[in-house]
Amino acid sequence: MAENEQKPKEEKDEKQSPILTPETIEHERRELEKTWFEPRGVIGWLSNTNHKTIGLRIICTAFVFFGLGGILALLMRIQLAFPENNFLGPDLYNQFFTTHGSTMMFLFAVPVMEGMGIYLVPLMVGTRNVAFPRLNAFGYFVYLIGGILLYAGLILNIGPDTGWFSYVPLAGPEFSPGKRVDVWSQMITLTEIAALVGAVEILTTVFKQRAPGMSLNRIPLFVWAMVVTSFMVIFAMPAVMTSSSMLSMDRLTNVSTHFFNQAEGGDPILYQHLFWFFGHPEVYIIFIPATGFISMILVTFTRRKTFGYTALVLSMIATGFIGFGVWVHHMFTTPLPQLGQGIFTAASMMIVIPNGVQIFCWLAMLWSGKWNLKTPLVFVLGFFAIFIIGGLTGVMLASVPLDLQLHDTFFVVAHLHYVLIGGAVFPLFGAIYYWFPKWTGRMLSEKAGIINFWLLFIGFNLVFFPMHILGLNGMTRRVYTYIPETGWGELNFLATVGAFIIGVSVLSFIGNVLYSLKNGLVAGDNPWGADTLEWATSSPPPAYNFQYIPIVQGRHAIWERTEDAPVITGLNVKKREALATTIHDAAPEHKYELQSDSIYPFLLALATGGTFIGVIFHPIAIPIGGVLSVLALFGWFWSNSLAHIRSTHEEVEKDPQNPEPSLKPVEAKI
């Protein structure tokens, strides 16, 4: 990288770039404000393509679904608080646990992590917007439509009731007539489209739009986490889209395929394979971004450089790979060859190795750093306690004989909540406390944050620790009640009390957010003294993120910046232009005009959503929706191409001397 640092200086000497004057800076800032102006009004709201706006929308929507899923959980806990309780009937209980699980996985956990990525990644890599802003907006609307579909189903008494993975034959046409499972499978397809869109955005932005100097070995760890996650999304999500589409086709009366119908040569176990080939990587799709939060928070709040950067990156990549080799451990109760059992047990245990490496790197940072014990760090400490317990029960469940005993019991419920809430929700809360000042310009209250943490920590352990014991005692999942003679009443009551404490904790968080939006301390650009580029711009950042794209001189961009660090000038301020850089070294390569705001992504989302919802009722929705989608896409591309030639013409008119852009690789020039 030493070479890269030299290059800019040489070029500067050659070109004698003028030093910026306050007048130029002010003039260019005003131009950028105009160019990146975010549209207003209803149409404007639907047309906006700014990654920060879209990112915050995704995060807020995901938290709304988190709240809804949480309310369902509370209702379930009331039902289970006493033996032979009749608060919810069996049918409503089935719908609630299915909707709860589907919400938390598909409408909260995955989207909220991608929302964080979509907001933060462009800022952290020092660019103006994601690579495909319109696609980004499309992703949000499709996700929203998918979420509304699920809850509309629940309200209309066609809420899915076959569990969050909807196994066949239970979810097949024979045992689940009606539209309930169709609602579920179309929701899956829609939200997975959104997840895939987010992954494409993040990968392309990180590959091609990093600030000059941010070579691969200087990318912030959260960005690495999102890269690994996005790869996993790309390889995992198509499997669940395939399985949910096959399930739909099997169920639709006018289609009636036989993918999972054993009588006609179909294979019910195929469904489980396809689902879990997605389902297990899904866990890491949720967990790996959280490890990114932890790495970022630890650097800032232990005030030291990353310990084991390379080890942490390689651990995430290794987790990503091994995560695809463990899915059969969800299927140990299906007929499997012993060799298969052995391989998947070994792989499931092996994944502890990269995770262990990560944990030890983090412990080393805690050990050797100077703690600044603020709420984000407190949540990370909570993560250690809870996630490690969840990880240990995971190793237990990887063992086939034990798994056969515990499969479908509350032990598994306890394990998965320890892993997912401990591994993802605790770091996520820490991350919100950490980045809230960047999003809003105001700090969240520390006092309320600590209350939020302790209520969550205590409530969480009260709910889920007893479930280990209940599971070992034989209490099965997805059964709406139990008889008094089982002796499970006390522990269940304790769990219900814990659930309400979590509820209070979440309310305290919401109160904190609402209060601090208006009354929080003013944050300033970098309230925590953090190291990454998002803190090098104002809070909240301007629509264009950075007036001048910064040059990165080390892994900790702000901490390692020298006094005379140069900035990038020469991007056209009259159009939405970003700098494309090379993949390895992030050397400047070419200018890249980003798409403008547009209503077409919303229209395409309506067409796509309409197609998938309509097909629940009749296959005719496919050709109709197909034509509408093509029309929306034509509008999308036509308007984009038009905008592009317009801005190019303006540029040429303004500067007739402008030479024909050369296609030579730029490395030669610098």
Binding site: A131, A536, T569
Partner: protein, 214 residues
């Protein structure tokens, strides 16, 4: 950096950099490639499903005995599928030429090869509809019919998408001429067609040759 109160002392001027670069240099090329990876994984899942159903059926494909003519070994016919495979493979020639002409910004060549590529594309779509008959089963006859129809159908969707992209390119280039962005977009579209043809070679072998020779 961008802090409002400090004025950067040094600058690097990038205004002379080009505004378009081809292939792996371009973000859109990457976006397209990720899309193709996603679609490849979808086909991977369908291939897995195909083999999974194969293990459930013996013989494979199952004899067709529920309607006339009864076929005891209903392996798919090869004639029309093979013609279509050849059509798709030959279509690579105009597509490569389209790619090259777009790079040279040769508007006339682009117009010619856009139309020729579209003609091949439409021919492949029409032949595909006849291909379904070669399978001897309907999608709802049994799981074998379901998976083969789905594989052919998924690929048919790509043929349609490609036709739409071609039509868009034709309308734009004939109406507005060949600008730099459109030329670049056409090279990315060409990559998509390479993939559509390439993946079909594999799927053809699986669906049509598999039951006969494996």
């Amino acid at each position: 950096m961008t802090s409002e109160n400090s004025i950067p002392q040094k600058t690097i001027d990038v205004s002379s950099l080009p505004s378009t670069m081809f292939d792996t240099h371009a973000p859109i090329w990457w976006g397209n490639t990720w899309g193709l990876v996603i679609e490849t994984v979808v086909f991977g899942c369908l291939i897995a499903a195909y083999f999974s159903i194969w293990t459930m059926l013996s013989p494979f494909p199952p004899p067709r005995v529920d309607r006339f003519p009864i076929i005891y070994n209903p392996v798919p016919d090869l004639t029309i599928p093979t013609i279509n495979l050849v059509v798709l493979l030959v279509s690579l020639i105009p597509d490569i030429l389209l790619d090259l002409n777009a790079r040279k910004k040769n508007e006339k060549g682009v117009k010619i090869f856009l139309v020729v590529t579209l003609a091949f594309n439409i021919a492949a779509i029409i032949l595909r509809f006849y291909e379904f008959d070669s399978l001897h089963f309907k999608w709802n006859d049994n799981a074998y019919g379901s998976i083969t129809w789905t594989i052919l159908g998924m690929h048919l969707i790509h043929l349609f998408v490609m036709a739409c992209e071609d039509i868009f390119g034709i309308v734009w280039v004939f109406a507005k001429g060949l600008d730099e962005k459109q030329a670049f977009d056409l090279t990315v579209t060409a990559v998509y067609w390479y993939w559509v043809v390439g993946v079909w070679v594999l799927l053809y072998a699986l669906v049509y040759l598999g039951p006969r020779f494996l």
